[in-house]
């Protein structure tokens, strides 16, 4: 079991409030990603769950039991650190076994579990090496091995892929997701990369300035962002925001439209603009269009579109896909 519930969790350092009243219900077996810009408090929130920091107020329940006064080791969680935090003087075997050794398990059982974990992660040939003799990806696996071998109630991941190169990151992303599904263990995963969040999560928590802005499945956040912040943070390229006159005509403060929901229309039809930069990726074409009082709009076209800088275009937003925001930045639900 690994149900984690946050109730009114607060954390402040002196006068600075890092986490302001966080309420969250993480279901057993789900993969939850905390995402947000750097400094939003996502790592702090994870460390509060881990017990590496003391909460200032509120409760953290793991399987219904309040753990705020329970030391990290007794919470039954395991953590994968951004730096991997492998013990440099221990072999891979020693690293993975350390937690079990601390728990006082008998040696044969430790060996069996370590070898099973190593097999799962393709680490068997490296069991007797030291961390410094491993590549970045292998170290990452050891860190994960150390986490899974203890069969915790939940895994905590603190930006675990940020030190890997792009190709490896995509591969490890898949592996972590697969592993989590296979073990069906709750996972809480911190990242600043919204692509990681979208691809890995069952549910995403968007954090900003110590506040939970929205909690929902990736598609919910994409289709129904609750506010300007989430709308701008989720989705790549980022959503276009059109304030001013055009929005005023629709009776709202700001209109948001994703680049993929802007159609390139026939001459004279829709919003006029001029292409300033065209990026041809083959599979997609990204246009940056100077739209006069609309500002710069990003347009995504699936496939190749032979437009180049300087060309005039007309853009039509998909009305069903428009997001309307009030002055406070909250979304206005139409239906």
């Amino acid at each position: 079991m690994g149900q984690i519930t946050l109730q009114g969790v607060r954390k402040s350092f002196g006068p600075v409030n890092i986490i302001k009243d966080a309420n969250l219900d993480i279901e057993n077996g789900s993969f939850v990603v905390f995402v947000g810009p750097s400094g939003c408090g996502k790592t702090t929130l994870l460390r509060l769950i881990a017990g590496l920091e003391d909460v200032t107020g509120g409760q953290i329940l793991i399987d219904g039991r309040n753990v705020v006064d329970v030391p990290p080791a007794k919470r039954g969680l395991s953590m994968v650190f951004q730096s991997y935090a492998l013990y440099p003087h221990m072999s891979v075997r020693g690293n993975i076994a350390f937690g079990l050794k601390m728990a006082g398990l008998p040696r044969p059982e430790i060996n069996r579990k370590v070898e099973a974990a190593a097999a799962t992660l393709n680490l068997t040939p490296y069991l007797d090496r030291k961390p410094r003799e491993l590549s970045g990806g292998q170290r990452q696996r050891v860190a994960i091995g150390r986490a899974i071998v203890r069969e915790p109630k939940a895994f905590l991941f603190d930006e675990p892929l940020s030190n890997l190169d792009a190709a490896l990151r995509v591969q490890m992303r898949l592996e972590v997701t697969k592993l989590q599904k296979q073990l069906a263990t709750t996972a809480v995963y911190v990242t600043h990369d919204q692509v990681e969040a979208m691809t890995m999560a069952d549910k995403i928590v968007v954090l900003n300035a110590g506040r939970i802005e929205q909690y929902g499945s990736p598609l919910e956040l994409y289709e129904h962002p609750a506010n300007l912040f989430v709308a701008g943070f989720i989705g790549s390229p980022k959503m276009n925001f059109v304030p001013g006159e055009v929005a005023g005509e629709a009776g709202v403060a700001i209109i948001g439209i994703r680049p993929e929901h802007l159609k390139i229309g026939k001459d004279g039809d829709g919003w006029p603009g001029r292409v300033s930069v065209a990026e041809h990726l083959g599979s997609d074409t990204f246009l940056y269009v100077e739209g006069g009082k609309l500002g710069t709009l990003t347009v995504r076209y699936v496939g190749e579109l032979s437009l180049r800088a300087g060309d005039r275009v007309w853009l039509t937003p998909d009305p069903a896909r428009m997001h309307r925001f009030n002055k406070e930045g909250s979304v206005i639900r139409t239906s």
């Binding site: 590496l52 990290p72 953590m79 650190f81 935090a85 492998l86």
Partner: protein, 276 residues
Amino acid sequence: MARKVTSRHVWMSTAAAWLFGFLIFLPILWMFLASFKSELDAFAMPPKFLFFHWTTENYATVQQRSDYVHHALNSIIIAGGSTLIAMLIAVPAAWSMAFSPTKRTKDVLLWMLSTKMMPPVGVLVPIYLVYRDFGLLDSRAGLVLILCLGNLPIVIWMLFTYFKEIPKDILEAARMDGATIGRELVYVLTPMAIPGLASTLLLNFILAWNEAFWTLNLSTLEAAPLTVFIASYSSPEGLFWAKLSAASTLAIAPIIILGWFTQRQLVRGLTFGAVK
């Protein structure tokens, strides 16, 4: 360091570096050679460089004078004792400042450093009088105490900078893995800190071994370490260069060898981390 260099450049800098290195090393080399000469050869003019009658009788003489062993033993006890005691006090202090710092930690560190800046001569009088009254003059315990206090700031600083380099993540990982503070110390922190502990130990042993203000002023015979023993050669009678050289070689050889292992720690220790 993948800069292209011409072979002429390499040869020129090699020649110059070896020349200067040799000149700087020359006094030590010369002393080493003199220690194998007869007193007459050591005094000979023009000097005899390599072609003299090599003899180890000076070492035998120095060895036979039991007081050499006595002073060497004093040096070992005083330098070793003061270093070990300083370590015992410094390890917990440095651990605490590196892993559980408070707002005042920086001030405490700088204050500790400032005690090292106090010139010993400024407190010579009271220390001498207190030592006289407590019977600590010319006692090993007295020298151990004063060298320990004198080097404590350096020991704490070096250990602090080493501990500081141990990523906090790793200690937290150990905590997540269920290690108590005691087991964290035994299984994780100590093995990782051993290189740092060793070089701190070594450098401070060297500094204590070579200390020549308190040892000269607070000891005369019983507790006198090698610094004082060698100083007694400053106004001897008769021919003594070869014996002086032999005694000196014995006194500095082990330390120079230890010193070669600690040259990098020297920068860290004596600049208090101001140069990296």
